[in-house]
């Protein structure tokens, strides 16, 4: 069966980082030989979240902030599906903050690609949870008054077993990260910087190029303390690459009948199987 993914014309602005992210995604999926009918892309709402419409995999384009719960439901229901969640920084760290925190606790085998452009694109330029404090936006005319969320430090604190940062401007590097995240057995958090050419005049392509650096080849990503230090680095350079990666038991494996049985969707359904339960009520 062909692993080639069809692509469809997006409604993104010319120069949007989403184009590159989609290119990397397509390449990653094809290099991993994952057939389109076995991949599901789950998203919320935002420009990033339109991606299920622009690549030919199974897709669940749900509600703003609510991509993670259905992704978990889908993965638990069919462990053979490759489930990827893609949404923006507002969707993931704002509206969906509660699900972000608790999904990490579960450690379901899904890859979570957050298109982090540090602004709200679809709704035209309001501050997002990751917009820098003091930055002026189309809503915060005096500048954002809040400290930004620290996404990778947050996921590390919550105990995520795979935490990484990428950049839409480096497709080969991003492809590598995506493949690692998809093949990682557990919840993989990949925060992807991307410029929003229309609404974010601060975090531009140039800004990202100048403010990020690559973790060296000898960086030990099994060292939690190191990873945490790296996660907090910002003003003096933001590290890109895998910050942390260790094995952990997945949520779905904690269900014996899922771990050692067929996918839940393939269970035989027979009402008579439940008849025995009535004995408690005699």
């Amino acid at each position: 069966m062909s692993c080639e993914y069809k692509v469809y014309d997006p409604s993104w602005c010319p120069g949007c980082g989403n184009f590159m992210i989609r290119t990397a995604l397509k390449q990653a999926l094809e290099e991993l030989n994952i057939e389109p009918h076995n991949a599901v892309i789950v998203s919320g709402i935002g420009q990033a979240a339109k991606i299920p419409h622009y690549i030919g995999a199974n897709g669940f384009n749900g509600l703003h902030g609510r991509a993670l719960p259905p992704a978990i439901g889908a993965k638990l229901s069919n462990k053979n599906l490759t489930v990827i969640v893609q949404s923006g920084d507002g969707d993931t760290y704002g509206e969906g903050g509660n699900h972000f925190i608790h999904t990490i606790r579960r450690n379901v085998d899904i890859a979570h690609f957050v298109h982090d452009n540090q602004i709200y694109g679809l709704t035209k330029g309001q501050g997002s949870p990751t917009t820098a404090k003091g930055q002026k936006t189309t809503l915060q005319f005096d500048g954002v008054k809040l400290e930004p969320v620290k996404p990778v430090a947050l996921s590390l604190t919550m105990g995520a077993g795979f935490v990484a940062r990428g950049f839409s401007g480096d497709i080969p590097h991003l492809v590598k990260l995506m493949k690692e995240a998809i093949t990682y057995k557990g919840y993989a958090h990949l925060d992807i910087f991307q410029p929003c050419v229309v609404w974010n005049k601060v975090n531009t392509f140039k800004w990202y190029k100048e403010h990020t650096y690559y973790l060296p080849d000898d960086y030990d990503y099994t060292n939690y303390d190191e990873a945490y230090k790296k996660a907090l680095e910002w003003d003096d350079g933001i590290p890109l690459g895998i910050l942390y990666k260790v094995e952990k038991e997945t949520y779905e494996d904690s269900f014996d009948f899922i771990k050692n049985g067929p996918p839940l969707v393939d269970a035989t359904l027979d009402p008579m199987d439940a008849e025995n339960l009535m004995k408690d009520f005699y």
């Binding site: 419409h53 199974n58 749900g62 439901g73 359904l269 008849e275």
Partner: protein, 558 residues
């Protein structure tokens, strides 16, 4: 024989234990049981009481009058004395109140002798076993069943110690016991399990939680994922993901938690992902009365979720109904690819009643899934325009070469975002068209009970069924002409029977547990019938037949 025992005390005193032992022991002697449970919203203290009613004839409701009060504290006597029949008796531990007309039993004293304070309710149970002439063997079996083997020995000792404390008054004949004794939530959960539900996610909220608890106890045995999720918003979204991937999923809550699910309900509507959601109603608004009962979410359930999309709403009327309707809901959700919303209410979630064992052979699992042959298009159209409005539904990952795209935006047949005006109209029409087939093929008229062509027609819905049934039987036995329609399927609203009977009846009496007459408003909106009287109750307590009869006689010239 029709006897009611009230067991009352502070939360944590052991009322539950005594009641479970009593109801099941009497039930195993072949009697019909109806146990009404009344709680305050606290884990310790306050006042809780339960009423075990038993009879040699079928019961559907609780009685307002008491034959016996078994008081675990003095407050119980004060609160319920005026409902005790003249010949009724009060039983209590001799360390509580000292009034002479009570039957004082040395319950705590015996418990102390057994070195286990906790068994004193069982000592009382022992006294009642002899009082009613029940079998000690059966009482011991029930102790094993209800309390489990770890603590059954000490409880059996307590049973025997208490046995001689009261003189025998009755000799309840042991008859054949063919029934099960079950409450509304257990029945709902069993119905879901029978229907092949393999995914339940939810957030604890009274009085819905015991559905999740029951499913959790059976999860490993039946291969069901039971997930306590971080919030109700996530719960319905998660269940939709599971259903999208092909697994029958359910979630549920009570008013405030259901309120958090409304956006996802809207998502279910436009994505056409089948789903079953239940609301165990309690008095609102907001936190309201957490442990009490009401029927005030009808309009909410019918209209919840922004925008317009087809849904079905079913009100559960008894534990029996809860089992079969829940199983049916899963089939209808998948047939029409709509949300099917079940309404229960605290009263029904908690009361236990003897019913015929469920006939699992009556349950069918009908999935209405498309096969590869149904989807000839090169690119699968999840939302293909069809005559009925129902598009062939594929499960992701099941057909190589075909992908399934579902979408919360308005979309085209493929599921892609589409803003085109003509497409929007066509898609909205497609979705709403599904209601036509639902009305024609599957919506059931309300239950009817009573005399044919009644002069007085009661209309009600959900768990008011039990009290209304007793009311109708009583009034007809006294020579009046009463009938009642009890709505189960309540949206889309079935109109045939009410219009037919409404033309004949002199009085049409709306009986429901809310302040604004929500069923009546539906009748006004959808039918040519008008109610002439209404009996509303919204004090957080359930109707009983005595109250309804009294209020009917007050309002209507019979």
């Amino acid at each position: 024989m029709d006897y009611t025992i009230l067991v009352g005390g502070a939360a944590g005193q052991g009322i539950d234990t005594v009641v479970h032992l009593l109801e099941r022991t009497i039930k195993r002697h072949g009697y019909y049981i109806f146990t009404y449970k009344n709680f305050m919203s606290m884990v310790r203290g306050g006042h809780n009481f339960m009423q075990v009613r038993f009879s040699d004839k079928p019961l559907t409701s609780y009685s307002s009058k008491l034959d016996m009060i078994f008081a675990l504290n003095e407050e119980t006597i004060m609160l319920h004395r005026d409902r005790l029949k003249p010949e009724g008796i009060v039983i209590l531990d001799n360390e509580i109140a000292k009034a002479e007309e009570f039957n004082h039993l040395p319950l705590t004293q015996i418990a102390k002798e057994l070195n286990n304070q906790k068994v004193y309710p069982t000592v009382g149970f022992g006294a009642l076993v002899n009082y009613f002439g029940l079998s000690l063997d059966i009482a011991e079996e029930v102790i094993d069943h209800v309390l489990g083997t770890k603590i059954s020995d000490i409880n059996k000792q307590a049973l025997h110690k208490g046995y001689n404390m009261l003189e025998r008054k009755y000799n309840l004949e042991k008859k054949e016991d063919k029934h099960i004794l079950i409450n509304g939530n257990q029945a709902l959960a069993l119905g879901a399990i029978a229907a092949g539900c393999k995914y339940y996610c939810g957030y604890p909220m009274t009085p819905s939680s015991s559905v999740m608890t029951y499913m959790s106890t059976k999860a490993n045995e039946m291969g069901i994922v039971v997930d306590q999720i971080e919030d109700e918003v996530g719960a319905l979204n998660m269940a939709l993901g599971a259903s999208y991937a092909g697994v029958r999923a359910m979630t549920g809550s009570s008013g405030g938690g259901f309120a958090l699910m409304t956006e996802a309900l809207s998502l279910a509507g436009i994505t056409e992902i089948p789903i079953v959601v239940f609301n165990a109603q309690r008095p609102g608004p907001a936190t309201g009365l957490a442990t009490r009962t009401e029927q005030a979410d009808l309009r909410f359930m019918i209209h919840a979720g922004h925008g317009e999309f087809p849904r079905m709403v079913i009100a559960l009327r008894s534990p029996d109904d809860a089992f079969y309707q829940t199983a049916r809901a899963f089939n209808l959700a998948e047939k029409y690819q709509i949300p099917v919303l079940l309404m229960t209410e605290e009263y029904l979630t908690d009361y236990s009643m003897t019913i015929e064992p469920f006939d699992f052979g009556r349950i069918t699992i009908d999935r209405y899934l498309a096969t590869e042959d149904d989807v000839a298009d090169e690119r699968y159209k999840r939302y293909k325009f069809t005559e009925s409005g129902i598009s062939p539904r594929l499960i992701p990952g099941k057909v190589p070469g075909k992908v399934v795209l579902v979408d919360s935006h308005e979309h085209n047949e493929y599921g892609n975002i589409e803003e085109n005006a003509e497409n929007r109209t066509k898609m909205m029409d497609k979705r709403m068209k599904k209601l036509e087939a639902l009305m024609k093929e599957d919506i059931q008229e309300p239950w009817f009970i009573g005399v044919d062509n009644p002069e007085n027609l009661i209309v009600c819905w959900g768990a008011t069924y039990g009290a209304v049934k007793e009311t109708v039987d009583r009034l007809n036995n006294e020579g009046h002409s009463f009938g009642a329609l009890i709505y189960g399927d309540i949206w889309p609203f079935p109109t045939k029977t009410i219009n037919k009977l409404g033309r004949i009846a002199n009085n049409i009496i709306d009986i429901e547990q809310n302040a604004t007459g929500q069923l009546e408003s539906l009748i006004n909106e959808k039918t040519s019938t008008k109610c002439s009287h209404r009996i509303l109750k919204y004090d957080g307590r359930p109707f009983n037949a005595d109250e309804i009869v009294e209020r009917i006689i007050c309002q209507i010239e019979l």
